[in-house]
């Protein structure tokens, strides 16, 4: 009933979505796939970098008896960035968990409408969130907002990653909706 992913397994109740058949949409998806590959590579590096930074924190504290707080702040930025930027890639493989109990009870035609509704609502949410995140980024940039720590990193950095990630996610869902509409099998 659940779409459930697991890092060590790749368990998925739902199959990976088919590639779009309509040439223009297929081209859009290919372009998005290219972006996803770059984003996943960068986010993977961010993930490992966060692990390195946190490990360094332990070693520095143990060997030099000095405490820094830049490590936590840096890790937060790396991980928040990795997570929001990867959201579109996860959507491209339908990896966001959903309750699929109703799908089993519906006819394929009705289920097509359900999926379209679910994607439409998701798109609306992501666009709203992206809009507010861009506004927040702009405010943080203009006001020179900083994190409340000794490192005082500019807040526009994580906010912009959040905004860019949600925008990309919205774009991915939009392409999936277009694919569903234009590639719908004739009844």
């Amino acid at each position: 009933m659940l779409h459930q992913g697991d890092a060590a397994l790749d368990i998925k109740a739902s199959p990976v979505p088919q590639r779009p058949a309509t040439p223009a949409i297929a081209l859009m998806q290919r372009m998005l796939d290219g972006i996803h590959r770059i984003v996943v590579a960068a986010a993977s590096l961010a993930l490992v970098a966060a692990a390195v930074v946190l490990s360094e924190s332990v070693l520095v504290r143990y060997f030099y008896r000095s405490s820094n707080d830049w490590q936590d702040e840096t890790s937060v930025m790396l991980l928040v960035g990795a997570i929001f930027m990867s959201a579109a890639y996860v959507q491209s493989v339908r990896g966001h968990v959903a309750i699929e109990a109703v799908a089993e009870l519906l006819s394929p035609a009705t289920d097509w409408w359900r999926v379209l509704f679910a994607d439409g609502v998701s798109l609306g949410f992501c666009l709203f969130f992206a809009w507010k995140a861009w506004t927040l980024t702009h405010e943080a940039w203009v006001d020179g907002q900083e994190m409340a720590s000794t490192l005082a990193s500019p807040l526009w950095i994580p906010y912009s990653l959040m905004a860019a990630g949600m925008s990309l996610l919205g774009l991915q869902i939009a392409v999936q909706i277009l694919a569903a509409v234009f590639d719908r099998p004739a009844r």
């Binding site: 890092a7 060590a8 986010a43 993977s44 993930l47 390195v52 990795a82 996860v90 968990v97 507010k132």
Partner: protein, 449 residues
């Protein structure tokens, strides 16, 4: 509109959007934003993203992707199979030793990887064929692995517990420690059942042989030399050292939980490179991509669940629901039973992450008012949510078993799992009767609260 009406509408809208198949993260976010628009000052909509960021930018919560990375690195290597083989050659002489080896391997692997399905897959892919080859009934073999896998969310480091600690504002270190003895209790119960069930199956095989001359693999004897017994040590020991090292770093005060996650992830990557030669970018890419998939999915749910809870709190829905439950005047055990049944039912549809974050503001205040220790309840709740991993209709571990051994009929898998469900319910009852099972270890190590 009064709070009750808003609360009912909030719950109804949540159920409607979730069952429409909208991904849980977006469904929770959508409901929260709609209710902010209609029932909260419009300025609150401008702070939606800031709220989500501030909730998510917690270094404790952000340790989750690193724990997942550690689990993925170990889970995708041959560490699980090697661990299982090593335990098997040492335990084969005990009746049901193979089953016990599987249970122990699940417990150890769960503690290293921190993921129930990963444990099921890593140990089960080696353990189920081996047990069936040695004459264990398919359902029994499947049951051992499915149940053993659930230990992943009870033994530290458990992602479920990290979330519970955040939601209940309890000490994560104390919570991790509280899971160890109940985890060992479950390992012992599972191992005891494996021995008894093995004896029953062996007796039946002996009778069958006497009556019809049909031989069974259960009746065959096996021997391992000392050399064979030590052959696996170089592969397994480093991971066991990693497990102990990480625990020492955490409880020795050398590292915070998030630093432990970072250190554990880095060491796991180092070990799989050293032992299994998994170091090339092409080898690491699937591990990192899979980590990103699970982390992003989970963290998006967490972020939006926290926004959902914030709205619920702002509109006084959670406070009113909690007050209503307290005012109902249920006896403490009836209250606990009702809440646990509620958690079980939610577990049919929702992952533990959402259950904890969505229900904590409602169920924890009444439990606290009734005098329950919230650390203890975290352990009980975790075991109950573990049940959801092996209990129909969802039972994620059942899907994993079906992946590993598709030829075992679903009915047989479920019947094989049921005795373990009974044992887990027994463990919950035992924990209710003797709460010290969970609380004594943190009290000894960290001092009484």
């Amino acid at each position: 509109m009064n709070v009750l009406s808003i609360g009912l509408l909030y719950g109804g809208a949540t159920i409607a959007v979730m069952f429409a198949g909208i991904p849980i993260a977006f469904a929770l976010g959508t409901v929260a934003i709609i209710f902010m628009f209609f029932f909260m000052p419009h300025a609150s909509l401008d702070t939606v993203t800031q709220n989500v960021y501030e909730e998510m930018a917690s270094i404790t919560l952000l340790s989750i992707p690193l724990f997942i990375l550690k689990g993925a690195a170990i889970g995708r290597s041959r560490a699980g199979a090697d661990l299982y083989s090593a335990l098997h050659v040492w335990l084969y002489r005990i009746p049901g030793g193979l089953g016990i080896a599987n249970v122990f391997a699940c417990g150890l692997f769960a503690a290293m990887a921190g993921s129930s399905p990963a444990t099921c897959s890593a140990i089960g892919s080696a353990g189920i064929p081996e047990m069936r080859k040695r004459g264990y009934s398919p359902g029994f073999a499947a049951g051992i692995i499915a149940a053993g896998g659930t230990l992943g969310i009870l033994l530290p480091p458990s992602i479920t517990m990290i979330l519970y600690a955040v939601a209940s504002e309890q000490s994560l270190g104390r919570l991790f420690l509280s899971g160890i003895t109940p985890g060992l209790l479950l390992v012992s119960l599972f191992a005891l059942y494996a021995t008894l069930r093995y004896r029953t199956e062996r007796r039946s095989a002996v009778r069958d042989f006497a009556a019809h001359g049909r031989t069974s693999s259960l009746l065959s004897e096996e021997r391992y030399t000392l050399r064979e017994k030590f052959a696996y040590a170089p592969r397994v020991l480093p991971f066991v050292l990693l497990l102990t090292g990480v625990m020492i770093a955490l409880y020795g005060g050398y590292a915070t939980p998030s630093e432990t996650a970072g250190l554990g992830a880095l060491l796991a990557l180092f070990l799989i490179a050293l032992i299994y030669f998994v170091w090339k970018p092409t080898d690491l890419q699937p591990i990192l991509a899979a980590t990103l998939r699970e982390s992003t999915m989970l963290m998006m749910i967490i972020g939006m669940s926290l926004l959902y809870s914030y709205v619920m709190s702002y509109l006084h829905i959670s406070q009113s629901a909690a007050e209503t439950i307290v005012a109902a005047g249920f006896s403490r055990w009836v209250l606990l039973a009702m809440i646990l049944v509620f958690v079980v039912v939610l577990g049919f549809f929702l992952p533990p992450v959402s259950i904890i974050l969505m229900t904590a503001p409602i169920i924890l205040p009444p439990l606290k008012a009734a005098g329950f220790d919230l650390i203890w309840f975290g352990i009980v709740m975790t075991i109950v949510m573990e049940l959801g991993l092996i209990h129909p209709p969802v039972g994620l571990n059942i899907f994993v078993i079906r992946n590993i051994a598709p030829d075992i009929p679903l009915g047989e898998v479920i019947w094989g799992i049921m005795p373990f469900v009974g044992l887990m319910i027994f463990a919950v009852v035992l924990l209710c009767l003797v709460p010290q099972i969970a609380t004594w270890l943190p009290d000894v190590i960290m001092g009484p609260r």
